[in-house]
């Protein structure tokens, strides 16, 4: 058997010296480097590539580019399996494996074919009409059945093993598309010295010139392409990006692009990504994306073997593949004749040429004679015959007579649509141009120019002229001076007249408008009849223009038929708005490196490795990883561990990393005044060497954050914030300073990262610290009382800061050293504390102890609570203005029945409290009307031997002693609790001051 029976004996840009072996649906075939999967399959005579979305009709290759609606396949296998890839842009590689999709059990014999099963039931809107009732059937019956019958490919079932990247590029001029317009634009801009990026989605530069037999300056166009590429390569500021689709245009000249770095090999080489998502920042951009050819709507127009005429030329000229042997051309313009011309040049005879126009140019008639083809002027194709591919067509001639012609390839042409999608991404509306019978770009976003076919200027001469002009204009606009102006190359003659027909009437059978979504002319008529007359409604009702191709080959016919049905002109219906992305983009290329454990940056404390060495289990707090608890061998669950840690602190000494707290250095003459304005409480009277608890509100009166702030020197304060809010507080303080009170002398900077900080807590903590601090520092209770804050030294002069503050309610300190010493500090404290059984504890134990002391934390500082709600209303100074002061005094926020902080304990000590449980008075029904608040935090208190909780309850503090229901509908549980003071342990604070 002849390998590649449809490969022409010579010609094309494939490398015939090398053979690549690949598989499609389990069968092995050969192709060449330079082939796409589509061209290689066509070379092997494979025309049936897939089944359609809804009706499971056989489909083949329609086009030669990224607009392909039909030839969608699953590429590769296993974890690398990718559904809905377009065979027309898959670059062939050795060992490529592809499978057809949406068929069962096989492509040739598909039992799901609706033509076999149910006739033509799946008309537009059928989802909405057919499956309305009963509602319960939707999820269980209708949807699964529909999903099985209608669909595209299957996603891989495993995580993608490849690496993806993001990257950023900057240029003066971005040129999109490397056809004749794009190449000449890049060249003129590049020659002026501008930084140019030239992108093309193809794996070879040249655009349509690769597919055409044209002449530039009297020589084959390929020579001009080669010379242009050579000159571009020599310009150091010009960057050419192959296999790169520009998919979106965003504000201020920013473009999104995806570079398929290694899609053309089976597996990316080591250390290389599969794809790279680009964000390109530009000063100017030139859209030279060419045009997309339009098919014709007629019955049976979807059968494999019906192909765009321009695509036929591309397969012949670029790939050396003849997609059929008995050829009929059906055209509404001159473009079909260009295909005839190239086929004749390739020595191919044609059966017939059907031109819907009644007048045929004499040169075309002569051409038809050379081709040995019959000509049907004013004719139309009314039907196709065949099973899995075309075997014949029925032609109606100008007199209305029908002729059946045998053929295996029908080349169709209905003119071209400018590829103007990017011009719509910033709200631009395409405009119908009667002269070229196509939508052309409307208002352009700033910085973007469009040239060549993308602007509806379809001839090669216009493309070269536009490119040169726009390249020069762009460079000049941003200040470059072209040294000399080269003459614009000349081209051979061409005509591009077209008189499109939007559908062939009179035939029988389905005539497809949108191949990918199986939308027929009848569906468009139905939509019009049912009132979905706007093109946007048409799209949503019929699915016309949805899915991977976004209607690139179908939109115009759909809206032209709608215009006809509603008695309007195409210019009045307009088109749907194109949105990014122009072409499907893998999520991986958008995420880049940021997936899995690299999803977002993680912040690690300087003591992180030490904590890990101690066996810590970590928890995410904002971006930070914090040690949650430190299980010891033999401890079965976290509660055992946390209970041990709490008891160690309450009876001996514990050690906890608190480096993650936000720390802001605030200096300047007006610092105390500044703090007065941002905190609710007073700061001017705070002596040097002391710390104070502070609470800050948002301007709307709700609590923003809390923390202790220390006065290190007269005009030097150190503020601490909660771990999670550090960034937010810094931004707020900068706002207060720069926007509200710029005259204050306040200078602040985050020093969160500079200091490693540890809490040393428990009755033995002073003894441990004495061992660590240099001997000159007296930390006796008298010399260093509760809330003392001082700069000290450790280990013979290492600068450190010591604070006597406590979250646990025990005698406690926080010691800070420069971060490089963080680990050394932890080791030194462990060594000094070992005689006292010092125990590392994590955020969980910290949380238990703060709850035992009734300190509020993140669950209570939830953006919905005021200082008063948290029992801290008395802290609010009435002698000064501060952020949030007035709004916190709003009447509704002062209502006594606002949920207010209380403690809760179970009536039966064995029962566990649940955070999130809602409070309902005894005897009342548990519903929203009777909801009186909820449990914010719970913990098992080792000190008390039962669970305790904090909650926000209506009239809370006045109800101490009352019993109430804690109903948890999420976990379907309910227990009875007693309302109590939020301070559970050491209410007098004797331990704290000891």
């Amino acid at each position: 058997m002849n390998a590649q029976p449809f490969r022409l004996p010579s010609g094309g840009l494939v490398d015939r010296t090398q053979t690549l072996s690949f598989r499609f649906d389990g069968k092995t075939y050969d192709g060449h480097p330079g082939d796409t999967l589509a061209s290689a399959l066509l070379a092997n005579g494979v025309r049936l590539l897939g089944r359609s979305f809804k009706y499971h009709r056989p489909r083949g290759v329609l086009s030669v580019g990224s607009e392909e609606p039909n030839a969608l396949v699953e590429l590769r296998t296993g974890a690398r399996r990718e559904p809905n890839t377009r065979a027309t842009i898959i670059e062939l590689f050795e060992g490529l494996e592809a499978t057809s999709q949406n068929r069962w059990p096989s492509l040739g014999c598909d039992f799901l074919s609706v033509d076999r099963l149910a006739g033509s039931a799946l008309v537009a809107g059928f989802y909405y009409k057919t499956f309305m009732w009963p509602a319960a059937f939707w999820e269980k019956l209708y949807e699964p059945v529909i999903r099985r019958a209608a669909g595209l490919g299957r996603a891989a079932r495993f995580a993608d093993p490849d690496h993806y990247e993001k990257a950023f590029a900057f240029c003066d001029v971005l040129v999109i598309g490397a056809g004749p317009a794009g190449l000449s634009a890049a060249l003129t801009a590049g020659r002026s010295g501008a930084r140019v990026i030239l992108c093309d989605e193809d794996f070879r530069l040249g655009g349509r010139l690769l597919a055409e037999r044209r002449e530039i300056d009297g020589r084959p166009a390929a020579d001009w392409v080669a010379a242009t590429l050579a000159e571009l390569a020599a310009l150091s500021e010009v960057r050419t990006m192959l296999r790169t689709s520009v998919f979106g245009l965003y504000d201020h000249g920013i473009f999104g692009a995806v570079e398929r770095v290694n899609d053309h090999v089976a597996v990316p080489p080591a250390h290389q990504p599969r794809q790279r998502g680009w964000r390109i920042y530009t000063k100017r951009a030139i859209l030279a994306s060419g045009a997309l050819e339009r098919p014709i709507v007629f019955p049976g127009n979807d059968r494999p073997g019906v192909m765009l005429a321009g695509a036929v030329r591309a397969y012949v000229n670029r790939f050396g593949v003849l997609p059929g042997r008995e050829i009929v051309v059906f055209t509404t313009g001159d473009n079909g004749w260009a295909t005839v011309c190239d086929l004749v040049a390739a020595g191919v005879r044609l059966s017939a040429i059907v031109d819907s126009r009644s007048e045929i140019d004499p040169t075309f008639k002569a051409l038809a004679e050379r081709a040995g083809a019959r000509v049907f002027a004013g004719g139309a194709v009314e039907a196709t015959q065949g099973g899995h591919h075309v075997r014949g067509v029925v032609v109606r001639d100008s007199s209305g007579k029908h002729t059946t012609l045998s053929c295996d390839l029908l080349a169709v042409s209905n003119g071209w649509n400018p590829t103007l999608h990017l011009t719509s991404h910033q709200n631009g509306r395409p405009i119908w141009n009667e002269d070229v019978q196509a939508f052309v770009p409307g208002t352009l976003p700033p910085g973007l120019a469009v040239g060549g076919s993308a602007a509806g200027r379809f001839t090669l001469a216009q493309a070269l002229e536009d490119g040169a002009r726009l390249g020069r204009e762009a460079a000049v606009e941003i200040g470059f001076r072209p040294t000399h102006i080269e003459p614009i190359p000349t081209t051979d003659a061409e005509t591009n007249r077209v008189k499109p027909i939007w559908r062939v009437r009179g035939g029988r059978g389905k005539a497809f408008v949108d191949f990918q979504n199986d939308v027929t002319e009848k569906d468009v008529e139905l939509a019009a009849r049912e009132g979905f007359r706007s093109v946007e409604h048409l799209k949503r009702y019929t699915t016309l223009g949805m899915a991977t191709d976004q209607g690139k080959t179908s939109n115009i016919a759909g809206l032209a038929i709608m215009a006809e049905q509603t008695g309007r002109a195409i210019s009045d219906t307009g088109t749907t708005v194109f949105r990014p992305p122009f072409t499907p983009v893998a999520i991986g290329a958008l995420a880049g490196h940021h997936r899995g454990k690299d999803f977002r940056p993680v912040r690690l404390a300087p003591t992180h490795d030490w904590s890990r060495e101690q066996g810590a289990v970590f928890v995410e707090t904002g971006q930070w990883l914090r040690a949650q608890y430190y299980p010891k061998p033999g401890e079965q669950d976290w509660l055992t561990t946390v209970t041990r840690e709490v008891l160690a602190v309450r009876t001996g000494v514990g050690l906890c990393d608190v480096s993650t707290l936000g720390k802001i250095d605030i200096q300047g003459r007006d610092t105390a005044e500044f703090l007065e304005r941002v905190y609710i409480n007073g700061w001017k009277a705070l002596p040097v060497g002391k710390a104070r608890y502070g609470l800050m509100l948002r301007e709307d009166g709700f609590v923003m954050d809390d923390g202790t702030t220390s006065r290190l020197r007269e005009n030097h304060f150190l503020m601490t914030t909660t771990t999670a809010n550090a960034g937010k507080v810094m931004q707020h303080l900068e706002f207060c300073h720069q926007v509200l009170w710029p005259k204050l002398d306040v200078r602040m900077v985050s020093v969160s990262e500079q200091w490693a900080q540890a809490a040393i807590a428990g009755p033995k903590s002073r003894e441990v610290l004495r061992d660590i601090l240099d001997a000159v520092h007296d930390i006796s209770n008298e010399a260093f009382p509760y809330l003392a804050a001082r700069e000290v030294t450790v280990n013979g002069g290492i600068p450190a800061r010591l604070f006597r503050i406590s979250f646990s309610g025990e005698l406690a300190y926080e010691l800070a050293v420069p971060a490089d010493y963080g680990e050394a500090m932890m080791r030194a404290l462990m060594a000094a504390g070992s005689p006292h059984g010092i125990t590392p504890y994590g955020t969980e134990a910290l949380g238990v102890m703060r709850l035992e002391k009734g300190h509020v934390a993140g669950n209570e500082l939830n953006g919905q609570t005021t200082a008063r709600d948290l029992g801290l209303g008395k802290m609010m100074s009435s002698k000064k203005d501060f952020i949030g002061r007035l709004m916190a005094r709003r009447e509704a926020l002062l209502q006594s029945d606002r949920p207010t902080l209380v403690g809760l304990r179970p009536i039966n000590n064995a029962e566990r409290l649940r955070a999130g449980a809602h409070f309902i008075s005894m005897g009342r029904t548990a519903n929203t009307d009777n909801d009186e608040g909820y449990m914010t935090s719970v913990a098992y208190s080792p000190s008390l031997g039962h669970w305790i909780g904090l909650g926000l309850l209506k009239n809370g503090p006045r109800r101490v002693g009352e019993r109430i229901r804690a109903v948890d509908p999420v976990r379907n549980s309910e227990i009875h609790v007693e309302i109590c003071s939020p301070i559970f342990v050491d209410r007098e604070g004797t331990r704290l001051h000891g």
Partner: protein, 91 residues
């Protein structure tokens, strides 16, 4: 979007955080009324056209900027530090 930071040059909008309308002035001091504060905190115009907005260059120079941006086209006319623009500053 790109915002022309007067200190750092044009930077991607990802480096900034948005606050909103720069026009309202905070009623300062103990004499300020609740009504005025309510207006300052909550009441905003929603103009179609150029609008002065507050943006914070969080991932850059940490300056608060007053950015004049067209709310429909996103065209940015100017961006100046609030310190010199006196945006939102009480008299």
């Amino acid at each position: 979007m790109r915002i022309p930071c007067p200190h750092c040059g044009a930077r991607d909008v990802q480096e900034f955080t948005y606050l909103g309308d720069a026009k309202p002035r905070r009623p300062e001091g103990l004499d300020a009324t609740e009504a005025a504060m309510l207006e300052y905190v909550y009441v905003r115009d929603n103009p179609r056209g150029p609008n002065d907005e507050l943006w914070y260059h969080a991932a850059g120079c940490r300056a608060w900027l007053m950015v004049r941006r067209h709310t429909l086209t996103h065209v940015i006319e100017s961006a100046v530090p609030t310190k010199s623009a006196k945006a939102g500053v009480a008299a």
